[in-house]
Symmetry: C2
Subunit: 401 residues, 2 copies
Amino acid sequence: MRCEVIAIGTELLLGIIVDSNSAWIGEQLALSGIDSFFQVKVGDNFGRIEASICQALERSDAVICCGGLGPTQDDITRDVIAQVMGVGMQRDTAIADKIRRIFEARGRVMSQNNLRQADVPIGARPIPQMPGTAPGLVCPVGAKVIYAVPGVPSEMREMMLGTILPDLRQRAGQSAVIRSRVLRTWGMSESGLAEVLAERMVELDRLGNPTIAYQASGIDGIKVRLVAKCKDAATAAQVLNAEEALIRRLLGDVIFGIDEQSMEVAVLTALKAKGMTLAVAEQVTGGLLAARLTAVDPELATFRGARIASLAGEEGTAGLTARAAAAADAARSEFGSSVGAAAIAGPARQAGGPVTAPVVLAARIGDRRQHEEIILPADRGRLRDFAVISLLNMLRKALAA
Amino acid sequence: MRCEVIAIGTELLLGIIVDSNSAWIGEQLALSGIDSFFQVKVGDNFGRIEASICQALERSDAVICCGGLGPTQDDITRDVIAQVMGVGMQRDTAIADKIRRIFEARGRVMSQNNLRQADVPIGARPIPQMPGTAPGLVCPVGAKVIYAVPGVPSEMREMMLGTILPDLRQRAGQSAVIRSRVLRTWGMSESGLAEVLAERMVELDRLGNPTIAYQASGIDGIKVRLVAKCKDAATAAQVLNAEEALIRRLLGDVIFGIDEQSMEVAVLTALKAKGMTLAVAEQVTGGLLAARLTAVDPELATFRGARIASLAGEEGTAGLTARAAAAADAARSEFGSSVGAAAIAGPARQAGGPVTAPVVLAARIGDRRQHEEIILPADRGRLRDFAVISLLNMLRKALAA
């Protein structure tokens, strides 16, 4: 089963918008065991959209058209699909009513143009998921199929997960259920992970299920993705649970979370479980640490506060360590939290290789003091990012100890 | 002149990497007056890359292949291009030496595989810009041309700006120089801008040069992009200067910067010019304001510091305003700065329409106090982002007054 993706919109070609939809769709297709060999971006031009769809239908079994379903004159995906299908358009009264109600609920006036979104090529069926005013479409063309989804990512995703992926799997005759789980790691290189897991990888190659892949993700660490293909969801969950348990035994505490659990979620969850609270002093991280923590805990229930200041003073390992420890203590008493933490960078230096800066991470957890010196790349962006994630990781491990 | 872009790499199709290179290339092509009607992603597969390049050469004058120039076995862009050109490969000794020297300088051992990167299709010429180990290529095919650039964004950009765009413009017979300038605005809707500039737009339609386009960019505001096409760079600069001056007279202080100047750059520049310093108290913005300011001023020379805390207290406009003003004052005295600022959000509420939250922005500039209440969408991400940009904008305008 092959499926191509066509992203439609002149603004994509002009670079005004980066097409991240195709990447997400590609990932979902891969997880469903469906091949995607080509992904195309094309502008709002009838002839070129038509040529792209026809070519995709020639070399693949299915096409997902993303974008061009809006109410304005340059939204022509519906019309091109009708042309490719060789059919006319019909207004779907149920959709038209739904669009009217959306406008009413928002207290806005609907122009007649908006009803163009209710026009459906004859023989196509609307996708039941419809979070916005643009309906998605399933359009059979002989034994093949064209899907149309809006370019708004959240709307596209809902339709993909709710209708298109199940439909594709059914067409592929796949009764199998595919489930994935991401184990998120920090503190070990990709080759290090591969070494520890080498023996298990050989076994899995023989077993064929589940599969394991690595994905380096910058300051989000290295993701270890497990994919299980089973006869039903319950079996897939069992397979993933067993594999996760096995890999956790091998990798230990380099795994900080699964799926969408970020490092800050891990730290805040551990703190909450212990009935503890956190405050931080930021120098090198400049507010980024607080921004990440408040994104998860906006009410400042567990993360109590931060102070961003220059924290100047003595340099060298001893000087940095003393300042970082004092800053962590001060944050703890200023905000009345059980844990205080700080990261302080020393001046950048170069000895032959790339420019680096020493960073001391310090934490005060109850009566316990802890610190760690790391060497980071000195360019400002990476220095900040890596200091944030390293301090969170130190806290995570200290809280687990 | 038409140019297509082919992004090469299975990891792009699988969604492991989002292809942002094509968008950047598309923008650069548009600025150079070169049409780009199709952009394609294809995996590391000989036949499919070949088919994509041949199709692109049929319907366009030039193709830019991005990616697949690395040293490993799945990097086959060079080989496919040689096949399309109908030529063999030749090792370029100058490039081979350069690659050897790069490895030596990094103190790393070079494997023989790395020298594959020095293989050049006969008749192609290497692109002189070569910041990494992957050389770019200019490969003539009859009157048309295939360019190959690495997928590493910084290397790709250097080659595009240094060689490919000038080459394309020359092939297009464009002796004209194209320059653009972005006027960045905040505080007026796109339709509002269009209304104020309507008369000038009609004039420019008649004159044909420069052109103006709007680009809504979320919390980066709405960008007004001027593009001038002139006989030389000096004339283009004159045209842009004159147009910018004219538009500044029409739009006034909604313009906060040009090109890459962000709102925080505008505020920090204004403070520095007046010999003033800034400190902030963050509640709703949760560290994001400090993170943006420290990204520009990492040494905390002008931005002196921030305190992130819950700042709970009385609600309602009066309560919020009193708390915000007190927090701004406190930040100013805590960090000894000349300016203090704060943003405090009240509880979310819904009255028929979408859920919103009231936010009070407050500033203390010397002896002067200022505040403003705004209503923002209550979802956490937008609430934070809009509060940050709105507070910075209030400071910018207050400092200009």
